[in-house]
Amino acid sequence: MAMWGGDPMINQYMNDFIIPHLKDHFNIQLDIAYAQGNTIVSQIMAEKVAKSLYNSYDLVWINGETFYQLRQLDALMGNWTSKLPNARYVDFDNPYIGIDFNQPIEEYECPWGSVQFTLIYNNKYIENPPLTRAELLQFVKKYPGKFTFDMGFTGLTLLKSWLIDFSGSPNGLKGPYNPDLYQKLSKQLWDFVFEIQPYLWKKGLTFPESVSAMHQLFSSEELWITMSNNHTEVDNKFYQGVFSQSARAYVPEYGSIRNAHYLGIPIKASNPVGAMIVTNFLISPKAQFQKADPLVWGDGTVLKISSLPDSLQSKFDNIPHFISSPDINDPTVKALSEPAPEYMIKLAEDFRKVILKQE
């Protein structure tokens, strides 16, 4: 299985809980290769070109952007999620789960976790965090160097939510990719980024490579705001000892993106059945519950709680150890859905061109 390895707690969950369980109950030896979405895509693409008999990975942990690219390459196995016994609990009807970056998942991938983006601030220094872009501008001017965003998936998610904000409506980017709309909105977005850039960390000349690097800067108080794609990470990181007790998570007024992350099986996986058994366990209530605990990982479940047996329902309703994470089921928390993947790819590309001046 190929997965992003940027979080020790996630790795620990896999190594200490999932792998031994699979070994004991199914006699499956799950080997983990740490590779990010783009590395996975480039690997699978190279294998496709080389007409390799088998893909390197049997199971890949992906998000919408990777899903889109792998579908473009026709590199994912289809027609398998409904065959999993535990799929009956999965909340496929939830638009934040059943639709990935504006694309129906159509049995090419199986949801694994559901999360919402949050900004995290240090309330030792900040009493009222900036709730709007205008407030953010004031904030960075007042405290230059204390805010930035990373170059990875998380930072891009923030940019996307700003892009949606510029559209004037939470549904402003719904539907397939619209280049004209993108041109118009991204122009406004870059103008805004230019405006705050001089007041960012390192004067906006460089950005943290990854979200974990940004968390490090936050924990050393070099930054006062960090962010996460996962609304419970703030508690998780507190338990890890990375964040202090003064870290608080919140969703800004313009909302933030809620999405799910998924598991896919490459079309030439050498052991697709094994991969399905692993996935079935990963979406089992037992594994999902374990994962939802911020002391373990704090990843939102993809199961439809109401479809579970009563005893499990109450368990999921009372997941322990939450401190600062916002409740994303609270209707006042504004959730945005992921726009089509081309927006993100264009944003990543243009960010390099426009802001970093790499052509």
Binding site: D7, A33, Y34, Q43, S52, S56, H215, S220, G241
Partner: protein, 246 residues
């Protein structure tokens, strides 16, 4: 001045050692703390590290043996074009491997131990070739032919005469090629595709997940054999060319 430079060396290595045995380093403390204690049970080696040590050692030893022996035989046939052998190790290993990945996949050895071995062979072999070439002096060539004239077979000559005569050179070459593999990151990450977890891959992995204590530990483990080789070869190195991968 010299003490400033050397003091810096000590700080760098010292911090590495300290981090390797620590479990916390809260800002703004100058020094890491929590030595040998993580919830009471400190394990310097965990299973992942042990596996990786085993795999890296096996890989590097095999590679060193392979390249040194083949390189030795081959360097006898070096010619004026020998200097071309410089090219493969001037190119960054990771780039060379990125351009070859397609072929590794085609022959079905990518993301395998054997594939990484082959990839590292392409880096270390030219080195062994160049390194051992000067040892094929006329005298050694003459010894090779003389021994056979006296009745010895080629194999006997190679193992009993040439081998011992060239032992210092071969030993040094063995160590150097061992280190090329031991320090290699590019081949392991590109050809290994995250599945061949050598110690260097592990260091990078730990850095990515901001697990500085394990990263330091893996780095320190990488340093140990290198340090031993340094002690053994101190005098050689101060007369010969050391080499690092990238």
């Amino acid at each position: 001045m010299r003490w400033i430079i050397l003091f810096n060396f000590v700080i760098v290595i010292g911090l590495l050692i300290l981090l390797a045995i620590s479990s916390e380093w809260p800002y703004p403390n100058l020094m890491p703390g929590g030595y040998f204690s993580k919830n009471g049970s400190f394990q310097f080696f965990n299973l992942v590290l042990l596996k990786s040590i085993y795999q890296s050692l096996l890989l590097s030893l095999t590679l060193a043996l392979l390249t040194t022996s083949i390189g030795f035989v081959a360097s006898r046939y070096a010619s004026n074009h020998t200097r071309l052998a410089l090219l493969p190790f001037l190119i960054a290993p990771i780039i060379l491997m990125a351009t070859l990945r397609h072929f590794f996949i085609t022959i079905g050895v990518n993301n395998t131990w054997g594939g990484v071995l082959l990839g590292q062979f392409f880096l270390a072999y030219p080195f062994a070739f160049i390194f051992l070439h000067p040892f094929w002096t006329q005298k050694l060539q003459d010894a090779l032919i003389t021994s056979q004239e006296l009745g010895a077979t080629f194999m006997y000559t190679f193992t009993k005469i040439i081998g011992p005569l060239a032992r210092p050179a071969l030993t040094l070459c063995f160590f150097q090629t061992f280190l090329i593999s031991w320090f290699d990151y590019g081949t392991a990450i590109i050809i290994g595709a995250g599945q061949v977890k050598t110690l260097t891959v592990l260091v990078y992995q730990y850095v990515q997940e901001a697990n500085i204590y394990l990263a330091a530990r893996a780095s320190l483990i990488i340093g140990i054999p290198a340090f031993v080789l340094l002690l053994i070869n101190k005098h050689y190195i101060l007369g010969k060319i050391p080499f690092y991968g990238s």
